[in-house]
Point group: C2
Chain length 412, copies 2
């Protein structure tokens, strides 16, 4: 018995017509001989409506009740999908999280999946059931309360089921047809990737390519689940979309897989900080306590006991960051001459596992930006990623220049 | 610990404002020292929306999936009600049917409650929880699937909880302020009853006074649950609404408690049926197999081996009844000269436990109708009820005449 997991997001099940279209795709896979586990989200708009009611009722809501209310959206889709499949003469039934059961932690609204017993569903498959439709995004706590995994949790549900059932693949149907070398809206040469490595996808996901939930990619990497991202709005061939897979499953690839960008970045610089051991810890503890998500950090060489410290964070956290640092100054745990905020920057990153074995990627990147007259404000690197901050007005230009420089329009 | 059950129907929880008003009433009872079990329906309109989706998806739907989809409406209200109570600093949590668990039969969409273990909720009450909000209308089958009790099932849920928890009372909040001597829309002298006996309520419910589900009244009678019907849209005193209770709790009462009417009646007469032993069984088996709900039956005295047989049924079943009888004629299991259908009749009934000990009720009823020139077409009687069929155009006149004749505007 080969199990395939197929996940349909909110726009793919937004109304009865779309549920029918999704069910047809499930039918195609059943015809190929798969037993299919379908993970469904709530119909588009439903979750927002339910969340709105909860927040209006109780601004500081009890997360257990929030979960009980919000999880109902997925239950509706699961039942309707099972009925649609039955109408197509495909033996199917729905499962709610607690019926499987999807065992989670008790962290309501942000629960972690801890176990998925396969016996119930496998027994039904053995009896001739061909499709198990499971309400995504939800589970049951050790106390027997309904939990949810947090927004985008249905991707995580899908990957967790694929891991638990040792599925041949986990297909994530969404409103884009795959993962691109960069955002097609700002670079017309953007090319859909046939394959991308987990590590690359993780960097791209956390850099703002909103195709897949970071958590679900991490989980897929840990359990070696072959993830495929594809569109539910187009006819699909067998190798449609983008396969997110282990590095060794990618025969040849470009050194750089993609160029990501994020406009929601601000750069803050502390000028002439009194330097002493532990000064970085002091600064970033203060920021962390204030709830500031610091991304990039750069420290210049210290001279005469003073240094400059630069970091980036989301633009809407700048005020909070300034407040926290001014308080630290007032409390005399920190001493600096000036705090400069630049809220008009963008982060541009090149990502690729090929960087591990190829040198010169950074030089090529900096030259391409320099050729366009784009000044680099901050640089950080990881093993498979180089990110720079530039003036926000250069976002499109920088992305296009890098896409050209690494010849991403050509397949690797 | 005294447990009170309060049930709020769909119009009483139609939006967040109304949920707040309902929660305030719960708060009043909590302040009196009760532990309250609140049974909620889906927000008005929600169940119809969900049913519509199911029927559009699959006209001959799998009732198990229907139940899973439709039950989600009550879950939303239960969570929102618990949150509203928490906002008022009343310790509360929601329970879905499977969490209690409300154990039911496997008759999906028409399940019967078979047991309600009280330990979970009682343990929470003992810990200081003051309100348990339970999603009405739903339960769990022995197979672990979600079941629903059928339309109006939330009343039944409420009474079943009141019986299981030995509640002091079961208050049913609805959009009317009690049970009336007759329909106030057609008789302005109609008077709200302070008390009514279970048996009378049962007759009135089955006669079309849609205040309470027949099933819930039967259950209340069997377990001696004191049921109170009252409006969620008016300020309430301690003895508001109508108490449905055992006969012995009603000190004094009118001979007749109320006058009911139903316009959805048709009269069919088989003229000159060949009479033989078992002929009634033949006719009514044929009708039953065709799904015709026969109500009143009258057979005239047989003459020369032939008789006339009259019965009534809902107007939309007349065609089906005619078809069934014509087929029986064609199959030679039945022989009659003519089948006459009168689809413009109404049923008028007087109901009262006092009839058991008072004679002359029928005579007084027939005289009142005769005085108005209303011809009686069919009569049937039970221990506490007399029903007649009359021309539909006389419905209002007949109700008003009987209300006057039995002086129902005066308290008993």
């Amino acid at each position: 018995m080969s199990v395939l997991v197929m996940k349909f997001g909110g726009t793919s099940v937004a109304n009865l017509d779309r549920i029918r279209r999704a069910a047809k795709r499930v039918g195609v896979e059943v015809a190929k001989g798969h037993n299919v586990i379908v993970i469904v989200s709530a119909m588009a708009g439903r979750t927002n409506e339910l969340v709105g009611w909860v927040e209006e009722t109780s601004p500081l809501f009890d997360a257990r009740e929030y979960d009980a209310v919000v999880a109902s959206g997925e239950n509706v889709t699961a039942g309707l999908m099972a009925l649609t499949l039955q109408e197509m003469d495909v033996p199917a039934r729905s499962w709610q999280g607690w019926q499987v059961p999807v065992q989670t932690s008790s962290s309501h609204s942000a629960a972690r999946i801890e176990g998925i017993p396969t016996d119930n569903i496998m027994a039904k498959f053995a009896e001739g059931m061909q499709v198990a439709v499971v309400a995504g995004f939800q589970g049951i706590s050790p106390e027997g309360r309904i939990t949810t995994l947090g927004r985008g949790g249905s991707d995580t549900t899908a990957v967790a089921f694929a891991a638990a059932f040792d599925a041949v693949r986990c297909d994530i149907y969404t409103d884009v047809d795959g993962v691109y070398t960069t955002d097609p809206r700002i670079c017309e040469k953007a090319r859909k990737l046939d394959r991308i490595a987990f590590e690359e996808m993780l960097e791209l996901a956390s850099l703002g390519a909103k195709v897949l939930q970071t958590r679900s990619v991490e989980l897929a990497m840990r359990y070696g689940v072959r993830l495929r991202v594809l569109s539910s709005f187009e006819e699909q061939s067998d190798n449609a979309g983008t396969l997110v897979c282990a590095e060794e499953d990618i025969m040849e690839s470009n050194v750089v897989a993609g160029v990501a960008h994020s406009r929601d970045e601000a750069k803050l610089t502390l000028i002439s900080v009194a330097d002493r051991p532990g000064i970085a810890a002091t600064i970033f503890s203060a920021l962390s306590e204030a709830g500031v998500n610091v991304d990039m950090i750069v420290q210049n060489i210290s001279e005469e006991g003073r240094t400059d410290m630069t970091f980036s964070c989301p633009t809407n956290q700048v005020a909070r960051a300034e407040q926290a640092l001014e308080k630290a100054m007032a409390d005399a745990v920190l001493n600096y001459r000036e705090l400069i905020a630049d809220t008009a920057v963008a982060k541009i990153s090149v990502v690729g596992i090929g960087m591990r074995s190829h040198t010169g990627v950074a030089a090529r990147m900096f030259k391409a930006l320099s050729d366009e007259g784009i000044n680099i404000k901050v640089i950080t690197t990881s093993e498979i990623k180089i990110s720079v901050l530039v003036d926000r007005k250069y976002t499109e230009l920088a992305v296009q220049a890098l896409h050209d420089a690494f010849e991403l329009e050509k397949a690797g």
